[in-house]
């Protein structure tokens, strides 16, 4: 884990990648989670920004630029890796930090959620729980099977990615995905200046393109830098564990555990195993929860949606 992590490191890093200027987090990018590092007096270095301006950046914020990988490399996968995620349902209180940081990272508008938190209730007697849902990066992906142009594909490291320069927007993958993971750009996406500057790679999924499908990509560009996806690091409760099945290790940023042991000990399961899709995301059941489920309502901004969730919590409707 990089200690100088700041909530905005994703966007800034990505936009600097394009121009090859070295920097991790622009000084302007601030006001974010643990910005204490920025406040310290540090040696500043003068740099030429992509706009041709001379800027001063703290030395600790600077690292080598890594160009995005090419199309062919993005199809192969990172050698020797087998990415896996574990989501601990006992810890989620719908803080929604995973969602907002993902949106920030990928410059998505606030109504586009690659990652969603659902309120689930398995039966009438069961109590409801919050259920974060990423793309499951299935080992038997229904979406990849049906793509007519090889725009969405499965890599050797287990990831299912989309090449938005290839996608023709037939939406067959969206109809085929049983988990409603994919989203479509129904109109020309409103891109920030930063997003426009990014050079596109299927590993970064930025910038968005009209008429194409996009989804959670497990941030392989971060993995190449040895970093965790933003949903993992931004979660205040350590719900998400990300790691490598080959190494048998997953981490939520705070603790690092044996993947196989975790699944065994806590009865980890894959959602809708019966569909045969073989997801790469495992869930730990919502037992011994550390928050009452109502806590999650606090972060729901829309009143009608809060009402809807309340009905699920109070009432009997099974979903």
């Amino acid at each position: 884990m990089k200690s100088e992590k700041c909530g905005c490191s994703g966007p800034s890093r990505r936009d600097f990648l394009k121009t090859g200027v070295v920097a991790l987090c622009g000084a302007a990018a601030c006001g974010c989670s643990g910005g204490s590092n920025l406040l310290k007096e540090e040696e500043k270095i003068k740099l030429l920004s992509p706009d041709g301006e001379l800027i001063e950046v703290a030395r600790s914020q600077i690292g080598p630029a890594v160009p995005p990988v090419g199309k062919l490399e993005a199809r192969e996968g990172i050698p020797g890796r087998k990415f896996v995620m574990v989501i601990d349902l006992a810890k989620c209180n719908n803080a929604r930090k995973c969602i907002t940081s993902c949106q920030k990272m990928h410059y998505s508008p606030s109504d586009v959620e690659w990652l969603q938190v659902k309120l689930m209730k398995d039966n009438d007697q069961a109590s409801p729980y919050w259920f974060p849902k990423t793309c499951f990066h299935c080992d038997n992906p229904p979406c990849v099977k049906v793509c007519p142009v090889d725009a969405t594909y499965k890599r050797s490291d287990g990831l299912v990615l989309i090449d938005n320069d290839r996608c023709i927007g037939c939406k067959f993958c969206m109809a085929a995905c049983p988990y409603s993971t994919r989203v479509f750009n129904w109109t020309e996406p409103e891109l920030s200046e930063e997003a426009k500057m990014c050079s596109y790679s299927p590993e970064a999924s930025v910038p968005a393109q009209e008429g194409t499908v996009e989804k959670c990509d497990f941030c392989p560009d971060m993995a190449r830098l040895g970093e965790l996806p933003d949903c993992v690091t931004s979660c205040p409760n350590g719900v998400f564990y990300f790691g490598d099945e080959n190494e048998d290790t997953v981490t939520n940023g705070e603790e690092t555990v044996r993947f196989s042991q975790l699944i065994k000990d806590k009865a980890g399961y894959r959602y809708m195993e019966e569909l045969g899709t073989k997801p790469r995301v495992y869930y730990l059941p919502p037992t011994d929860r550390i928050f009452p489920v109502e806590r999650g309502l606090e972060n729901v901004e829309s009143d009608p949606l809060r009402e809807m969730f309340k009905d699920i919590i109070d009432g009997s409707p099974t979903i």
């Binding site: 049906v146 090889d150 409603s180 809708m272 949606l305």
Partner: protein, 439 residues
Amino acid sequence: MKYKIDSNQIQEDLSWISHPPSKLWWSWIIFLLLCIAIGMYALYLQIAEGHIVTGMRDNVVWGIYIANFIFFLGLSYAGAIIGAFFHLFKVPWRRPIIRISSLIAVIGAIVGPVFILLCIGRLDRLHYLFIHARIQSPIIWDVFAISTYIVAAILFLYLGVIKDFAVFRDSSELNFSRWRRKFYNLMAINYQGKEEQKIIINKTRNLLAIILVPMVVIISSILSWIFGMTLRPGWHSTIFGPYFVLAAIYSGTGAIIVAMWIFRKMYNLKKYFTDRHFVYMGVVLIILGTGYGYFTFSEYLTSWYASDKWDSELIDKLLDPEYYGVWFFISNVLGILIPIIVMVFKKLRTPGLITLASVIVLISLWIKRYLIVVPTLETTLIPIQDIRPEYLFYSPTWVEYALTLAGFASFFLFISLASRFITIIPMSELAEEGGINIY
């Protein structure tokens, strides 16, 4: 040498093809062009502003366009298989019907695929379907199936019309303008009625008919597999292949009957489309209708009885009068029972009522396609939990309705234009067989 048909009677009956069209015909064409113009404006909006102008969203990613796509291809497939089947088995009353059915086959196959193009987000990348084709995808199967089929359907129609083109080229009784003579001259590809020419045409038509029958079965199934291959309730069903084949032929038979009725009225063809033709086609209609009804019953009964979670959620929506109940009733009850009632009682077996039943079949089969596409997409396996109504339920926007209207208008336009260039009755074949009295 001039190619002439023996029967002056047939030529006289069909001589309207060389007369200038009536004012009514022109106003009909202008009306259709207007509808298409509205559709073009809608298309412009959809391209300029993106698919956001449609009612489709992330859950219901396909809507009315796909329903139209299946509908028109269904009509087309039916036209082809009925034409080919009647030809192969030398059904004695086939002649007047084969021409209409092959016309519907070609025009349906041209209009239908346009609707799938309307669903594609990046039309500028359409050629990727060929240069990056991935054989595992049912869409690629469909691309190959439909493009092969269009060629076969056009050839089958064309081979049946060559002799008539030769008549039009050479006939002194029919007054065609010069450019039309030239057109017929070109299209007749030097057919002179020689014995070996006749043999070539017959052999090729037989061969094409033999190919078309299984081809239609295969391509209708492929169309169904776009849905059947997914893990979605209501789609993932083994019955879908044969179900689509039957539904296609059922709806197309209805279309042929309606076309027969309109042309009979318009061009005074009572001699050729006799009441018996209507009754015979009505029999075809109920044979297919009962088969289709049986499949429908079997499909819904099994998923309702076993009541798997997602299936029952879907069935509940389909039966609930507040959701799709009314549409379900029209498409799965009326659309099957009415043709049976009309055909069972001898008194009701009139051309008018058989045509009316066919219209009801067509309407209910269109609704049926909508009920196949939309409710399943609204039934997601993971709850949607969204407050934006368009993400929960699909309702088509005016853009989609306008393009649908334009699609129907193009279908009618092509048929109307075609009926001015070729007679709706294969005149030379009828003459070869000895005039009108073919029974």
